[in-house]
Every structure is written in structure tokens, then in C-alpha cells.
């Protein structure tokens, strides 16, 4: 018998599933030893995208809230890093990371207070509107260099006086591991959160919010908590982006950041927490490959995504070795 109950959960359903995740994490951790510098930097970009998509999964896959303003919190956090970094010195990570997350989280709290009073299509539009408001703050004012963007003075990772000031050839490797640690922490943190009673309440809201209110849940407060937390986590991704690229521009605040993160979730799978990570890595890889093969990068990307959505309704995370079939065959034979 199929245990449908587990299918609503976003975590691996078996020990084998968890082992596959650990194996993948180990593979990803030793990758920098075997590939050229260019691909290490690409891997870092992919992990940052994965963090953004993962933070958004707390809204989309866990709570059933589809927002188009999520990317704005990510971009806002990147700008926050720029704004608190001095010209000629590195700002320690234990200052930049909490500030970036707090700024993004507070912005999400404010936006959530208004937008979560609506739902469905209206929620999508209201979050889009708020996101674009944040975009235009950076696009139309000189706060962060206007439309041109701005460079961080010293985009170095430092903590407690020690600075990760590696030689040119090794610096991307350092940043790669800092991103990997954050991505892993975020996955584990969310996996723990989804197993709490709070995680169950989010699941209840996704399945039947009306019933949740009828049994006595303050669903607005629960959704606002999730929205704020997701915003703060998007802030962690934006923080990493600023340190990785050493550059901020209005493009990272725009609505297409949210759309791209949604696409990664769709590609990787709505029904799992690791889906958005797979989706982000796949989309980054796909973009790279299609750029090499053709001038029509977006066309190739679009066709591949269309094919995945049609052929794999559960996304890339839905692909697994069909053990059930083997067992069925044995029964019938």
C-alpha cells in the first residue's frame, strides 16, 4: 500500500533517500578539486541560486504561497551588504550576514503584513507590486549607485579579525565552501523546522486553510512567520551573492529573480525540499550549456523546461529507481 501521507512531506521518505542526499553533498564538496576555476565560480552561483529557491520553497511547497516579491528581499540584502561595507576594508561576516538577514526579514514582515491579507492571484500581484517598489528605490535613487550599480570596496569574507584574503587563484574556492556551508545549514534548518508542529501547521494551511481557521489556528500569524523567515533566508542568499560577485545592481532586486526561483522550484519539484536545489543546479547548468551550443539560449532553456514540466510532473526530484514496480512484478509472478 502506498503511504500517501508521506507524499505531502517535503523530506526524503526513506533511508536510501537521505543517503543519496548525503552522497550528493559529499560529491559537491569535493568537486572543486577536479574542475577548473571557472566552474568553481559557476558552482558558487548555482548554490546561491539554490539558497534563494530553497528559501522560497518554504512559501511555495510548504505553505502554498506563491509570491513574486521574494527576489526583492534577496536583492535588498545584497544592497544592505554594500551599504554597510566600508570603502577600503572588509566587513566581518558576523556583521554583514545578520544585518543582511535582518533587513530582508524586516522588509518581508512589512510586506507580509499587507500582502498576506489577500490570497491566490491577488497575493501574487500585491507581492509583485511591493517587490517592484523596492526595485525602483534602487533603480531610481543614488542610494546604491542607481541603474549602474556599485562595487563593494573589499568583497572579502572575514570573521573575528581573520580575513579570507586568499590569492587570486584560491579565493573562489574559499567562497565556494562558505556558500556550501550556508546552503547545507539552510537545508538542515528547514528540514528540522518542517518536522516541528509549526511545519505541520504550514502543511495544514497548504492543504486546507479554511479548516485550519475553523479548528482555531491564527493562520495569518503562521503565514506571516513563514513569510518573514523565508525573507530572512533569501537575505542570506543575497548576502552571499554580494560577497561572491563584489557588485550590486538593480537587476538583482527585480521581479524576474522571483520568477527564476519559481522556475527552479518547478523544475526541481514542488513536493520536496531538495527539489529547489536540484532545480537551481540544473537551470544554472542548462543556461551554461545552451549558451555554448547556440545563440538562442532562452529558446533552448524554454524547450527543456517545458519538456521537464510535461514529462516529469514531480520535477527532477521525482525521478527515482522504480523499486515498487519490481516488487509488484514479484507479486504477480
Amino acid at each position: 500500500m502506498i503511504d500517501v501521507g508521506n507524499q505531502t512531506r517535503l523530506l526524503p521518505h526513506s533511508t536510501a533517500g537521505w543517503l543519496a542526499l548525503v552522497a550528493f553533498a559529499i560529491f559537491w564538496a569535493i568537486l572543486p578539486w577536479f574542475v577548473p576555476l571557472y566552474y568553481i565560480e559557476l558552482g558558487t552561483s548555482a548554490m546561491i541560486a539554490a539558497m534563494l529557491a530553497l528559501s522560497m520553497q518554504l512559501l511555495v511547497g510548504a505553505t502554498g504561497l506563491v509570491s513574486l516579491g521574494h527576489g526583492a528581499f534577496y536583492g535588498l540584502a545584497a544592497y544592505a551588504v554594500y551599504l554597510v561595507s566600508p570603502e577600503n576594508a572588509a566587513q566581518p561576516i558576523w556583521i554583514t550576514l545578520p544585518i543582511a538577514m535582518a533587513v530582508a526579514g524586516l522588509a518581508a514582515l512589512a510586506v507580509g503584513m499587507f500582502s498576506l491579507r489577500t490570497s491566490g492571484f491577488f497575493f501574487l500581484m500585491v507581492t509583485l507590486a511591493f517587490g517592484q517598489m523596492i526595485f525602483f528605490v534602487f533603480h531610481d535613487t543614488k542610494l546604491g549607485g542607481g541603474t549602474d550599480g556599485a562595487y563593494l570596496g573589499k568583497p572579502l569574507i572575514s570573521a573575528f579579525g581573520a580575513t579570507l584574503d586568499l590569492p587570486r587563484r584560491q579565493k573562489p574556492i574559499g567562497i565556494y565552501y562558505v556558500a556550501l556551508i550556508q546552503l547545507l545549514s539552510m537545508y538542515i534548518g528547514l528540514a528540522v523546522l518542517l518536522r516541528t508542529l509549526f511545519g505541520r501547521a504550514l502543511e495544514g494551511i497548504r492543504v486546507n486553510e479554511h479548516r485550519m481557521r475553523a479548528v482555531g489556528f491564527d493562520t495569518f500569524k503562521i503565514k506571516l512567520t513563514a513569510f518573514t523567515l523565508a525573507g530572512a533566508l533569501a537575505g542570506a542568499a543575497g548576502h552571499m551573492w554580494a560577497l561572491h560577485r563584489g557588485f550590486v545592481n538593480p537587476e538583482i532586486v527585480g521581479w524576474h529573480q522571483s520568477a527564476e526561483a519559481l522556475l527552479m522550484i518547478l523544475l526541481g519539484g514542488l513536493g520536496s525540499l531538495h527539489g529547489p536545489i536540484l532545480g537551481a543546479l540544473a537551470l544554472t547548468g542548462l543556461s551554461e550549456v545552451s549558451q555554448l551550443l547556440t545563440e538562442r539560449k532562452l529558446l533552448v532553456e524554454g524547450l527543456v523546461i517545458l519538456a521537464v514540466v510535461i514529462l516529469l510532473p514531480k520535477g527532477l526530484a521525482g525521478i527515482r529507481v522504480r523499486k515498487d514496480h519490481a516488487a509488484d512484478g514479484a507479486d504477480h509472478g
Binding site: G5, L197, V207, R211, A214, V215, G216, I222
Partner: protein, 252 residues
């Protein structure tokens, strides 16, 4: 207990609900008492479901008051009312279909807890809630299907699950909107026994179409016609009421 006998648990005063020109609820004043099964009957369109929705906070009344233990709850939202002790079941089954029976009821039991507690407690390790859920499941007789997925249950079992979920919120008042809808004879018997047991420690408001069933289980009856109370009193007095016989029962 004795001194409380005359204080209603839930009371409405001149409750009125207009939908544009339509008066769905007209000047309804009823009282639910502890340990009493109060049935509301009436023809289709009499405003029975509107009344439940007003009591549960799903609809806001145009005028009038709703009192719980003598305190005004008219302006409270649905979830605050459930926390205050008014739980309702739905006419159309409204459950968490992909979750197991136990998870459905545990979620209902969880609602009262604080958000901070929820964030720091592993769901699978919470014994108190699991126990509260199992008690409610046992009470409605679903222990045998505790681990089944709600969406796979029979219609009758889903109706029982509805009641278990309302019970798990630890209510003072149960508002049961046609709990028998679509049930067979035998299941009906079981629900009758259950409702009478529930009325021993709750105030129960029952909306029901089946007249035989209502006369069998109800202590007090209120007849609604076109949104207004036509008659209210003990089962026998309502049965003997000439106006009721003419306006409603006579139609049979």
C-alpha cells in the same frame, strides 16, 4: 452545576442577517444549555446553515448579539471563537484529505497551543497532542482506521472524522451541521448514540433534516421558517404545536 443550570452556554439575542433584500436570519434569540442537545429544524432555505455560520463567526450578523457564557463574542473571528470554545463541523465534509485520520485530529488539537511552542516541538515526539487526538478518535469510533488516509475513508467515516476534529479543539459548544448527511441507516444509529453521549458533557446544537432522528435524540427543538423562530421548546411541545404542524410537519 446547579446554579449554572439557567445560564446558557451560548445565547443569541435578536440575531439578524440580511443578504441585500433577503432576510436570512430574522430576530433569532435562542439559548443552548450545558448537557442539552438542541436541534434546529426547518425546511430548505429556512436559514439553518446561515445560523451556524453566524454562531461560528464565518458570517458577521447585520445586528444582534452572540454571548458565550454571558460574554459578548459577536465580533470575534472564527479561530478566536473556536479557541473560546465554540467548535463546528461542516455540512460538506471539510477535512485534510491527504493526511491520516490521526494527523487530522492532532492538527485540530494543536490549534490551541502557542506558535512559539510549535516552532520548538518535533511533531512526532509530542505525546500530549497524540493522546488528545486518540481520545477524540476513540470517542467517535474511528480507532480502527487511525492510520488510514482521510481521503480514502468511506463517506460515513469522514463524517465521523469531522466530529472528532471538532471534539479535539476541547469545546464547550458543538455546532454540528447535518452530521448525518449522506449516511446509511446503521451509521445513523451509531451517530445517534454518539450525539447523546456528547450532549452529556457539552452543549450541542444539531442541524438536521431527518425528523425521526431529531425527535429521537433532541432535548430541545427550535423550528426555523424563513429565517425566524416559529417555535421553540421541548421535543414534545414542539411536536404538539399547531403552528408547526401546519407550517412544517403538515407538509409531510
Amino acid at each position: 452545576m446547579v446554579e449554572q443550570a439557567n445560564t446558557p452556554v451560548l445565547e443569541t439575542q435578536n440575531l439578524q442577517k440580511n443578504f441585500g433584500g433577503l432576510q436570512a436570519t430574522r430576530d433569532v434569540s435562542i439559548a443552548l444549555h450545558r448537557n442539552e442537545l438542541h436541534a434546529v429544524i426547518g425546511p430548505n432555505g429556512a436559514g439553518k446553515s446561515t445560523l451556524v455560520n453566524l454562531l461560528a463567526g464565518e458570517l458577521a450578523p447585520t445586528s444582534g448579539h452572540i454571548l458565550l457564557d454571558g460574554e459578548e463574542v459577536t465580533a470575534l473571528t472564527t479561530w478566536r471563537r473556536t479557541r473560546a470554545g465554540i467548535a463546528r463541523s461542516f455540512q460538506r465534509t471539510n477535512i485534510f484529505l491527504p493526511l491520516s485520520v490521526h494527523e487530522n485530529v492532532r492538527l485540530a488539537a494543536q490549534a490551541r497551543g502557542s506558535l512559539a511552542r510549535a516552532v520548538f516541538h518535533r511533531a512526532s515526539r509530542d505525546g500530549t497532542l497524540a493522546k488528545a487526538a486518540d481520545t477524540a478518535i476513540e470517542r467517535v469510533g474511528l480507532t480502527g482506521v487511525r492510520n488510514r488516509i482521510a481521503g480514502e475513508l468511506s463517506h460515513g467515516e469522514q463524517r465521523q472524522l469531522e466530529i472528532a476534529m471538532t471534539l479535539a479543539t476541547d469545546p464547550k459548544v458543538l455546532l454540528l451541521d447535518e452530521p448525518l448527511a449522506g449516511m446509511g441507516q446503521e451509521e445513523g444509529e451509531r451517530i445517534a448514540t454518539l450525539l447523546q453521549a456528547l450532549a452529556r458533557d457539552h452543549a450541542v446544537l444539531l442541524i438536521e433534516h431527518d425528523m425521526d432522528f431529531v425527535f429521537k435524540v433532541a432535548d430541545v427543538l427550535t423550528v426555523l421558517v424563513e429565517g425566524a423562530v416559529l417555535a421553540s421548546g421541548t421535543s414534545q411541545s414542539v411536536r404538539d404545536n399547531a403552528a408547526v404542524q401546519f407550517a412544517y410537519l403538515g407538509d409531510h
